[in-house]
């Protein structure tokens, strides 16, 4: 039969109707943003991963590396974002080796959208793809069904409206790197405080032309756990010891550890004759 094969989808629906529903995927709830500045592009994300109403991970990493200078922020289903991103990373590297050129953001964009469209939105990956390549700094967003958008400032995820409100207020055409970084951090914070699907910390990645990309893991941590007011350790002697018996399990042997350094003559190479 020509076209897409969704047999498992049918099976899953059948199972769900019989009382075996699909387990709730870990979603990234999420606020993610991207912003162009003079000479580069910066992306940022919050760090909360939710499973329904529960916070599954308080400090997850939503910023994925596709190539050294192309990074991606992901919202939607966490596993889908992670795997589709890794797939693109491998594919792009092989492609770059084949072409002999540095990988381009538009290549990654096209590969991603063709993959996601093929799966008709069932791969729940909503991504902000950004990077610098030989054509300059680029910023795009992709939705799970395969549509792409270009922009100078973008936001995605459940907290996208809170972040976009900040971006619409404070973005301007010509931003410096520091201005863009603080704008993105502020936009993510709007999502952290005002959206229940987002929270914890701000991660950021700055990709500047002719410089290595810098990942700022936990660039801002406005939700640090406060020090516990009291120590709840039980004092020694709280539980009375009635009997003590020590059984030797191993024979402890004294031995010396020393280092061995092998110096190899770099000119001579081992060749199988």
């Amino acid at each position: 039969m020509p076209g897409f094969n969704f047999d498992n989808y049918q099976r899953n629906n059948f199972l769900a109707s019989k009382g075996y529903p699909i387990p709730k995927a870990t979603s990234t709830g999420t606020t993610i943003v991207g912003c162009r500045f003079d000479g580069g592009v910066v992306i940022a994300a919050d760090t909360r991963a939710t499973e329904g109403d529960i916070v599954a991970d308080k400090n997850c990493e939503k910023l994925h590396r596709i190539s050294p200078t192309i990074w991606c922020a992901g919202a939607g289903t966490a596993a889908d974002c992670e795997f589709v991103t890794q797939l693109m990373s491998s594919t792009l590297e092989l492609h770059a080796l084949s072409t002999g050129r540095k990988p381009r953001v538009v290549t990654c964009l096209t590969l991603l959208k063709q993959h996601l469209f093929k799966y008709q939105g069932h791969v729940g990956a909503y991504l902000i793809v950004a990077g610098v390549d030989p054509t300059g700094p680029r910023l795009f967003s992709i939705h799970a069904h395969g549509s792409t958008d270009v922009g100078y400032y973008l936001s995605l995820g459940s907290g996208s409206m809170a972040a976009m409100a900040v971006l619409e207020t404070k973005w301007k055409q010509s931003l410096t790197k520091d201005e863009a970084m603080s704008l993105c951090a502020e936009a993510i914070e709007a999502g952290i405080w005002n959206d229940l699907g987002s929270g914890s910390n701000v991660d950021m990645c700055v990709m500047e032309v002719d410089k290595p990309a810098v990942l700022y893991r936990n660039y801002r941590t406005p939700n640090e756990r406060s020090i516990k007011e009291k120590s709840y350790k039980f004092a020694r002697g709280t539980t009375a010891v009635l009997k003590e018996k020590i059984r030797p399990v191993v024979d402890a042997v004294q031995f010396d550890i020393f280092e061995e350094t092998i110096i190899r003559d770099s000119d001579k190479m081992e060749i199988d004759s």
Binding site: T110, T148, Y152, A165, A190
Partner: protein, 260 residues
């Protein structure tokens, strides 16, 4: 003997037709509607000398921008403003109820007039009562004014009868786009003492601009109401969004790979 209770006391099937069991399983009577003509967000923020509200002048018919001169901020009595979003015919009914409320309160001529907290209490009861009859007034309402002790008052009540009070409130899309911006200047109770009238107005103007950018059922023409703790109510009409940025995408072509 017929052992089926469903058949006792029933008209005979051969005379009146077979009993339709769907009647037995019908559930409660429902009038729950769909709103037809609607107004979008209403925003409000308390400041040091009162409360300020904003609401645009659009009454939408689904995706049609049907009426662009709809006033959604209502002055009630001498010292209160009520902002209504949601169904416009229900808004007009609420306007009627409030008008009658004020008239009947004036019968007494006892020197006492209804203020915001009283109007709020009245509206909350009406809204909750209607929801309990499964026949709601499809609105989200903000009531702003002053309390009997002279401090600013701001309350929210909606079609479910949910009531809520805070220094900053917004209904509809405003909850997602405006609240994050308003909470930057007033996040906790008591913050309003540090906000001036100019700051409050600037914040509301900024929010209305962002809403015009990102709410697909909004308008750039709106009204701003100011209710001071001195009891003064001013409603400024035909305010327009200023300094909007629409040329940012001048150099963007296509949706990805297109260069020309």
């Amino acid at each position: 003997m017929d052992h089926m209770p469903e058949n006792w006391g029933r008209p005979r099937s051969d005379v009146y037709g077979v009993y339709n069991p769907a009647i037995h399983n019908a559930g409660p009577t429902t009038h729950t509607q769909q709103p037809s003509i609607t107004g979008t967000s209403v925003l409000a923020i308390k400041y040091n000398k009162g409360v300020m509200l904003a609401a645009d002048n659009l009454a939408s018919y689904g995706s049609l921008a049907r009426f662009t001169d709809q006033e959604r901020l209502i002055k009630v009595g001498k010292e209160t403003v009520v902002g209504v979003s949601g169904d416009v015919s229900d808004m007009q009914y609420i306007q009627l109820l409030l008008e009658r409320l004020i008239i009947e309160d004036n019968y007494e001529q006892d020197g006492h007039n209804l203020r915001a907290p009283h109007i709020y209490e009245y509206l909350s009861r009406v809204m909750y009562n209607r929801r309990s009859k499964i026949d709601p007034l499809w609105n989200a309402i903000l009531v702003a004014g002053k309390k009997d002790d002279g401090s600013p008052f701001l309350g929210y009540v909606d079609l479910l009868g949910v009531t809520y009070s805070a220094p900053t409130i917004a209904t509809g899309f405003g909850a997602y786009l405006a609240i994050p911006l308003l909470r930057k200047i007033a996040s906790d109770d008591g913050d309003e003492k540090r906000i001036t009238e100019q700051q409050a107005r600037a914040a509301l103007d900024e929010c209305m601009k962002v809403l015009f950018y990102r709410d697909a059922r909004s308008l750039d023409k709106y009204s701003v109401a100011t209710v001071t703790t001195d009891g003064e109510v001013t409603i400024e009409q035909n305010v327009r969004c200023q300094d909007m940025s629409w040329r940012f995408a001048d150099h963007i072509r296509g949706y990805g790979t297109q260069t020309m």
